[in-house]
Amino acid sequence: MYELTGIRKYFHRGAETVWALDGVDLDIADGEFLAIQGPTGQGKSTLLVLLGGLDRPTEGRIVFDGRDLGRLAELQLAELRAADFGFVFQSFNLIPTLTAQENVETALVPFHLSPDERRRRAHQALVDLGLEDRVGHLPSELSGGQQQRVAIARALVKDPKVLLADEPTGNLDEDTRDEIVGALEGLWRNRGLTLVLVTHDSWVARRAERIAVIKGGRVNYGDASWPSTGREPDPELVA
């Protein structure tokens, strides 16, 4: 599904150049559940942004389904984001003025469906996440876990190939964390999604099939060299 070779990404911070990613090679298989773990500020989110086509690498190739994301035009990237990538954020990123139902519908806007079809699909996505009685609520009227489930419904309503989640449980308490991770895992299993999940949390990471640890802008563990029997990351690398 993904082939990343020699990915480097830098940012300018004032006069200083920050290499957020410094030579990442990574393959992600179709239908895989990959956890990305690593200390803070080491480039996990940056990697996810590149996987989701939200930004382009400074150097290297990031091939998704045979297409080099770094070379696609902005419009084609927007199409990919609309159709193939579902994004879930740490702070949910729901539109505060729209209801749960309407928030989910925003993901269908690029498809120009009939309003009825759009409503029906959004409602179904919310039902799938157990939110049938919260459809008309504004984000501010929902708990953190419920908000994140609305965000997951928004990411999945369009049946994407990949679900990219950046610390989806980072703002949640333990019980809610378990509930959300359980929901994600269930969806991954049932729908044959590719799930890439960035997390600080070793408990969450351990649920994945494979763990890639990022440190200093490089993936130090993971891919083929990681033993398939154990999912434990190197404790030293997880600060």
């Binding site: 989110s45 996810l48 942004v49 989701g52 939200l54 930004d55 902005e74 419009l75 927007a78 199409e79 990919l80 984001r81 609309a82 159709a83 990538f85 579902g86 994004f87 954020f89 702070s91 990123n93 539109i95 505060p96 003025t97 729209l98 309407e102 519908e105 925003t106 993901a107 806007v109 690029p110 309003p115 759009r118 928004r154 990411a155 369009k158 950046d166």
Partner: protein, 485 residues
């Protein structure tokens, strides 16, 4: 979805939306009020011109009497016995109908000459006359002593002087001239066979003063005319209108007119027509309504310059400030929604769609501000209409009457005037060398003003939306992951 989102955003940021909308509303309301006021001022000017000219008249042709040789300027009633002073106790009662002093007559044939000019749509002739009557007794104390001037002011002499203005009008359907058939509110306009009939149409204000109604009689030059119509005329217009033929015979000016009223085929050729008319009627004064407008002085002209200069700049400044504030607030609003728009980009919204969203929000604000602005503008013009005092407009007599030089009248252009007219000074006062017209200023909001307001509102919304979406279009989708909002 699109509209829902716009509506919700505006409601959520209602405080900011209100600031933007109120700003636009004030700008638009000001523009409307100012434009309504200047329309009102324009109407007032038209009314002034109309009172001097009549509707549909683009220019008038008059002739100035040269000092000392002008038309008969003494009371013809005294005629032959002017040289011998009346005896004490003599009852005097005279009624004269004369062209306004200082103006000379033109042959009626000039009217058709002017009418046949290629740029002229129509031309009619008229006699602008003043009917003056005085009556009184020469007192014994002053009889036979001093000059006419001292006699007229001497103790014991009592004269009643009254005058009213009479326009002899050519009966026509062209509408050119001082009286338009449409202005006759009661009774009827002259019929085509009335040219020498003893009939009159009086202005409603004169009818009110003299308690005249249709069927009453009015005395002009000592003859009784029956009132067949009452016309609603602007202030400053003539009091009594009579057919031209009747006027010519009553004033003893058969075949003469004092004024030719001309309408041009198009507003664009007024000045070239004026030049042609000047060649056709040598020695005449041709005055166009534009010239006349520039001659108007008094509070009306101050109001005109206020409305056109200060008002225009004030409203343009207010509007510009409102636009800039709306745009800046919109940009600030977009900056605060970086993560929101980043998220929408991250889930596949195209930049175009996000620009449309922001433009839509700006437009909605513009429309809300526009509606509020129209309400403000209507209220503002209503207030102007309510509070506005009557404005006075003074037009020099050179235009109103064709160059009257009252010095000639009062000061002895003709010997008869000083020595034989006992009321010479009084008469000079009875006439006014310049005509002052009082008009009430109203500020009517025209439908095109509302259209302009709507356009301004849309423009304001587009400016705000454009600045906001310019900001939004430069957002990167990765902004969705920004921690701090």
């Amino acid at each position: 979805m699109y509209l829902t989102y716009i509506r919700r955003e505006l409601r959520r940021r209602s405080k900011q939306a209100i600031v933007v909308a109120v700003g636009l509303a004030i700008g638009i309301g000001l523009v409307m009020t100012v434009s309504a006021t200047s329309t009102g001022v324009e109407n007032a000017q038209l009314q002034v011109l109309h009172s001097l000219y009549g509707v549909g008249t683009d220019m008038t042709v008059t002739k100035t009497a040269s000092a000392g040789s002008g038309g008969p300027q003494h009371f013809s009633g005294f005629g032959g016995n002017a040289e011998s002073a009346p005896a004490a106790g003599t009852q005097i009662s005279r009624n004269t109908l004369r062209p306004t002093p200082g103006s000379a007559t033109l042959p009626a044939a000039d009217v058709s000459k002017v009418a046949s000019l290629s740029g002229a749509a129509a031309a009619t002739g008229g006699l602008v006359l003043t009917d003056t009557s005085f009556s009184g007794t020469i007192s014994s104390a002053t009889s036979g002593a001093g000059t006419g001037a001292t006699r007229s002011t001497g103790a014991g002499s009592s004269f009643d002087i009254s005058s009213f203005s009479v326009d002899g009008v050519q009966i026509s359907k062209s509408g050119v001239g001082p009286l338009d058939a449409a202005e006759v509110a009661k009774g009827s306009y002259f019929s085509s066979s009335d040219n020498t009939a003893m009939v009159a149409i009086v202005s409603s204000s004169y009818a009110g003063q003299q308690s005249l109604s249709v069927g009453s009689t009015v005395t002009v030059a000592g003859d009784s005319l029956s009132v067949i119509g009452i016309a609603r005329m602007p202030s400053g217009s003539a009091d009594v209108y009579i057919p031209l033929g009747t006027a010519q015979s009553l004033a003893g000016l058969s075949g003469d007119v004092t004024t030719i009223y001309v309408s041009a085929t198009s507003a664009a050729n007024v000045s070239s027509l004026a030049a042609e008319v000047q060649r056709t009627v040598p020695g005449a004064t041709v005055s166009t309504s534009a010239q006349l407008a520039s001659e108007v002085t008094g509070s009306l002209s101050s109001a005109t310059s206020l409305a056109t200069r200060l008002g225009k700049w004030l409203s343009i400044a207010a509007l510009a400030v409102a636009f800039v504030i709306a745009g800046l607030l919109m940009m600030a609003a977009v900056s605060r929604r970086v993560r929101e728009f980043g998220t929408l980009k991250a889930i596949g919204w195209r930049t175009r769609r996000i620009v449309a969203q922001v433009m839509g929000e700006g437009l909605a604000l513009g429309l809300v501000g526009g509606v509020a602005g129209i309400v403000l503008g209507l209220a503002g013009s209503e207030i102007v209409s309510l509070l506005a005092p009557s404005l006075s407009a003074t037009v020099g007599s050179s235009f109103a009457t064709g160059g009257g030089d009252f010095g000639a009248f009062g000061g002895g252009g003709s010997a008869g005037a000083t020595s034989s007219s006992p009321a010479g000074g009084g008469l000079a006062r009875a006439f006014d060398s310049a005509r002052t017209v009082l008009v009430h200023l109203s500020a009517p909001v025209q439908s095109q003003t509302i259209l302009v307001a709507v356009c301004l509102a849309v423009a304001g919304g587009l400016v705000a939306g454009a600045l906001g979406s310019w900001r939004a279009s430069r957002l990167r989708p990765a902004a969705a992951l920004r921690r701090i909002e």
